[in-house]
């Protein structure tokens, strides 16, 4: 074989260039690993941890709420939800058909739940149905082997045992809003349920406790491998209220279908024993997502069931306001207890004829009789002498026209007019003629039932303002006595006793043999009446509002009751009987027949 000299050296000389090329490649690649592992290591370690750790909240049980006799008002009850984990399902359609059969619903309904979910992570289970019965739960559990894609999730729901009865006092829960998250940074997570109204809202942080957390190690399919860590939930604290469930029931039963409000409190401490606003709503509806129809019904109702009438509706107080004038007149020395005025059924002041509610007139009336029989003419004259600014001053001393400092927020201030207000807010001077209306609690004067309860408590306890509150054990130190003549308060109290317990008293229907009640009726005109029209002949929305404020026992007052019935007519007919029932229930008949 002829050997040809091979061209070999050129080949060999090119090999180092390939080596350099390869070495350069390896350096680039090593740099790539340096960047990811050394420079970006912490970042990727974090992502890896995030991959494998699932943080599952352990919901802290919310505190329960009890009334003053430790009767349970709010409970937590388990509710079962059905979840579908699509990533574990071999055949979603078959699973849906099974679920539909168990729940006795249409498969298409369930399918739409799945479709709404699309776009979210496929490892996140779909909520198919809420509030399963125990029978449903057991059916799904039994089929667990065949349908591993189903999960039953237990959730604790708030159950308001007395529904509408305590709705305005307790409120309800709702999902945290942006505003909640901003208001208390860190306290709430998106999706948390927070108190929306009432005591649930005020004492939310007290009731809610602290959610715990389970750290689970999961694999790429989302399946739990082991528990990595656990922070136990701290249960919320229970809340004990001063509310008396029985009084609450009495008032609601009396109001029935009528719109109105009723408040009872202890004049010594400000403890609120009764807080009823009617009509009410069922807070248990808010536990589940309300459907549009239910929400519309609540919002569009002409009776505004969501409104808490004890603090959010302000009305003219009517004759109930006469006590303020009486205390003002006596304290200022404008009148003495023995001064008398002749009531002929009307009187002309500032060229305008002002009628007394009693057409035939009360004859000669002193202060005691004017309160007992609610003579308007007496107070027209007293109002004229006092003038609007002094009336307003005493009204405010009694806590009218401003928030009482009640636990539950959202109190309406109401309105106590004076000359300054008139100029500032109406842009016109106060007309002295208006003072005559205000003297009997009509005209531009607005108070809430709770404010009147505060005023009545101050009359009952000898002139101290209390802060109404619903939480037991709260601060309850009464303030120093308000700057009025103590004798004036004593006289007014005695006159209020006469209202109920003497002949011709306007509140005599309330009289009880076993407890001495003091009270005052009031009727707030809704439309100004030029003529004598019987209230019963007016359309309902034009009928007067009925008031009754009261306390008992007169010598050692322990209970103040304020009743308000919208368009109820006269205070003595519509509102006083409510108070009577409350006293009957509270003091009981020591000698039942």
């Amino acid at each position: 074989m002829k050997r040809v000299r091979e061209e070999r050296e050129n080949l060999v000389s090119r090999i180092p260039r390939l080596q350099v090329f390869f070495a350069a490649l390896m350096i680039i690649i090593a740099t790539g690993y340096w960047r990811v592992q050394v420079v970006g290591g912490d970042f990727y370690r974090g992502l890896a941890e995030n991959n494998r750790l699932r943080r599952v909240p352990i919901k802290a049980p919310r505190g329960l709420i009890y009334d003053r006799d430790d009767r349970l008002l709010v409970d937590n009850v388990p509710s079962y939800n059905l979840l579908l984990d699509g990533s574990r399902s071999a055949n979603v359609e078959r699973a849906l058909a099974f679920a539909a059969a168990v729940l006795e619903r249409e498969p298409s309904e369930l399918r739409s739940a799945v479709e709404r979910h699309s776009g979210r992570s496929r490892f996140e289970p779909v909520l198919l149905a809420e509030n399963l019965t125990l029978a449903d739960v057991s059916q799904v559990s039994v089929a667990q082997l065949e349908y591993p894609e189903f999960e039953i999730d237990v959730e604790h729901l708030r159950l308001y045992r007395h529904g509408p009865l305590t709705a305005h006092a307790l409120g309800y829960l709702g999902e945290a809003t942006e505003e909640d998250l901003a208001r208390r940074p860190g306290a709430y997570q998106p999706g948390d349920l927070v108190g929306r109204k009432g005591m649930e809202r005020v004492f939310d942080l007290h009731l809610r406790g602290r959610d715990g957390e389970r750290e689970l190690i999961v694999d790429s399919r989302g399946r739990t491998r082991e528990e990595h860590g656990r922070e136990a939930a701290v249960a919320g604290k229970n809340l004990h209220l001063t509310l008396d469930l029985e009084l609450q029931q009495e008032a609601a039963r009396y109001l029935g279908e009528r719109a109105g409000a009723a408040v009872a409190l202890d004049p010594r401490s400000g403890e609120v024993l009764m807080l009823v606003s009617a009509p009410s709503y069922n807070p248990n509806l808010f536990t589940r997502r309300l459907d549009d129809e239910q929400w519309r019904e609540l919002i569009d109702s002409p009776y505004h069931p969501l409104q808490n009438r004890t603090i959010q509706n302000a009305h003219p107080p009517g004759s109930v306001f006469k006590m303020v004038l009486a205390v003002a007149g006596l304290s200022e020395g404008t009148v003495s207890p023995t001064d008398s005025v002749f009531c002929s059924g009307s009187t002309t002041i500032y060229n305008r004829r002002n009628r007394c509610w009693l057409r035939r007139g009360h004859g000669w009336v002193n202060l005691r009789k004017a309160i007992k029989e609610s003579c308007d003419v007496y107070f027209y004259h007293l109002g004229q002498k006092l003038g609007i600014n002094r009336i307003a001053h005493y009204a405010r001393l009694f806590g009218l026209g401003g928030p009482t400092g009640f636990d539950i927020p959202g109190e309406k201030a109401g309105l106590i007019p004076d000359t300054e207000w008139s100029l500032a807010r109406r842009g016109s001077p106060w007309y002295p003629g208006e003072t005559i209306s205000v003297a009997i609690g009509q005209g531009p004067i607005l108070v809430t039932p709770l404010q009147l309860a505060g005023m009545t408590a101050a009359l009952a306890n000898g002139g101290r303002l209390v802060r109404p509150h619903l939480a037991r054990g709260g601060r309850s130190a009464p303030s120093a006595p308000i700057a009025v003549d103590p004798d004036a308060i004593a006289l007014v109290r005695e006159a209020m006793w006469a209202v109920v317990n003497e002949e011709h008293g306007t509140g005599s229907s309330v009289r009880l043999p076993y407890v001495q009640i003091a009270g005052k009726t009031g009727t707030a005109q809704v439309v100004e009446q030029r003529t004598w029209t019987r209230n019963e002949d007016l359309p309902e929305e034009h009928r007067d509002h009925a008031w009754f404020v009261s306390f008992a026992p007169v010598d050692d007052p322990r209970l103040v009751v304020v009743a308000f019935v919208e368009h109820g007519g006269h205070g003595s007919d519509a509102a006083a009987p409510l108070a009577k029932r409350i006293y009957e229930s509270y003091f009981g008949d020591p000698d039942p027949r």
Partner: protein, 371 residues
């Protein structure tokens, strides 16, 4: 009769002088591979460690078999071997089983054989013979074209199997051999331009959507986090979370909790990076570097053109596998199905890697014979 070391046939002396370090490195890398495959598949129903151990053992046999055969006699039969490889590639199109969308396997029980891995070796043999025969400083254009043609036929058959990654692996082999055989720089520039144009054509007329998707995902990994981007993202998380010293053997959460797909095959290096950190990555890269440089030294001292070109071709393919796979795992290049020699689980590829190592050692062994 005594066998002296100063003999004309100093076989034992030569045996002692062969770069056994290549064999040692192959075995060391294979051992690292076995350990990593075990870690990566310990959570699966099947532990791939025993299977891969069988392949390594078979590979070792193949290595010594290749060592025993004179590459010159092998090149004499390179044409029938090449044709046989083509026939196998054609046959697999009709008789093969489909795995992961590619029909590139012969199923033998639960094992599979991939003829494309062996076709690469037979093509390298024929190419070495063809280019050795030119015997001039620079290749002429028609010779370059001829070489390309030799490679194009098996590549086309593999593309038909929808196994684009394996097909592409012929190119570095071809490029390395052509470069060493001598290509003028003007031709290299022209080829680069041609490649650009061809790339455009491929993108628009040949590539399938999933292949385009991989490229797009490489360019923008956030594009499809649950689909094509998932693999890349999980791989980078695995690599990065290894940090400097790694999370420890069998302690990588990305692989142990199965977040990383293909972790015992194409992405085995990500598992290694997660468990051994940058130190482990750098060590293994250095091992590969030593392997390639020792292989290159075999080429440098090889007896003839055929030997040089054969070793260069085999090494170029090997080096490109290493570079592309490690670059892909860390997200430097688009993902495609290219395994890592000696580390990735895979029968045919392990077998072919040991075979190639045996052929390289064979060239080294015969460097003084018939000079």
């Amino acid at each position: 009769m005594t066998l002296t070391l100063a003999d004309d046939r100093p076989l034992l002396r030569h045996l002692a002088d062969v770069r056994w370090v290549l064999l040692a490195l192959a075995l060391l890398l294979a051992a690292i591979g076995l350990a990593t495959v075990h870690s990566a598949s310990s959570e699966l129903a099947v532990d791939y460690l025993p299977r891969q151990a069988v392949w390594v053992a078979l590979g070792l046999l193949a290595l010594f078999a290749a060592l025993g055969v004179d590459y010159q006699s092998l090149t004499k039969f390179s044409l029938p071997l090449y044709v046989g490889g083509l026939l196998a590639l054609a046959a697999v199109l009709f008789l093969g089983t489909e795995r992961g969308g590619a029909r590139s396997w012969f199923g033998i029980g639960s094992f599979g054989l991939q003829p494309s891995e062996f076709a690469k070796l037979t093509t390298a043999l024929l190419l070495a013979r063809y280019l050795a025969a030119t015997n001039r400083r620079y290749l002429r254009l028609h010779e370059i074209a001829g070489a390309c043609g030799l490679v194009a036929v098996p590549m086309a058959l593999i593309v038909l199997q929808k196994d684009l990654g394996s097909a592409a692996m012929f190119l570095p082999m071809l490029a390395g051999m052509l470069f060493v055989a001598g290509v003028r720089w003007q031709v290299i520039v022209a080829a680069a331009l041609l490649a650009l144009v061809a790339g455009g054509v491929l993108w628009n007329f040949v590539m399938l959507d999933y292949q385009k998707g991989r490229v797009m995902t490489f360019l923008d990994p956030g594009r499809d986090p649950l689909g094509a981007g998932y693999q890349l993202r999980q791989s980078k998380i695995a690599v990065g979370s290894g940090q400097i010293v790694g999370r420890g053997y069998m302690q990588g959460t990305q692989s142990q909790l199965r977040f990383l797909p293909a972790r015992h095959t194409d992405f085995v290096f990500a598992v290694l990076a997660e468990e051994w950190g940058f130190l482990g990555v750098a060590s293994v890269l250095v091992l590969y570097g030593i392997f390639i440089f020792n292989g290159a030294m075999v080429a440098v001292r090889a007896r003839d053109r055929t030997g040089i070109l054969l070793v260069v071709g085999l090494l170029a393919g090997f080096a490109f596998h290493v570079a592309y796979n490690t670059a892909m795992v860390v997200g430097l290049v688009p993902i495609t199905g290219i395994p890592l020699p000696f580390l990735s689980y895979g029968g045919s590829f392990t077998l072919a890697s040991f075979l190639a190592t045996g052929m390289i050692l064979g060239v080294d062994l015969r460097r003084y014979v018939n000079r």
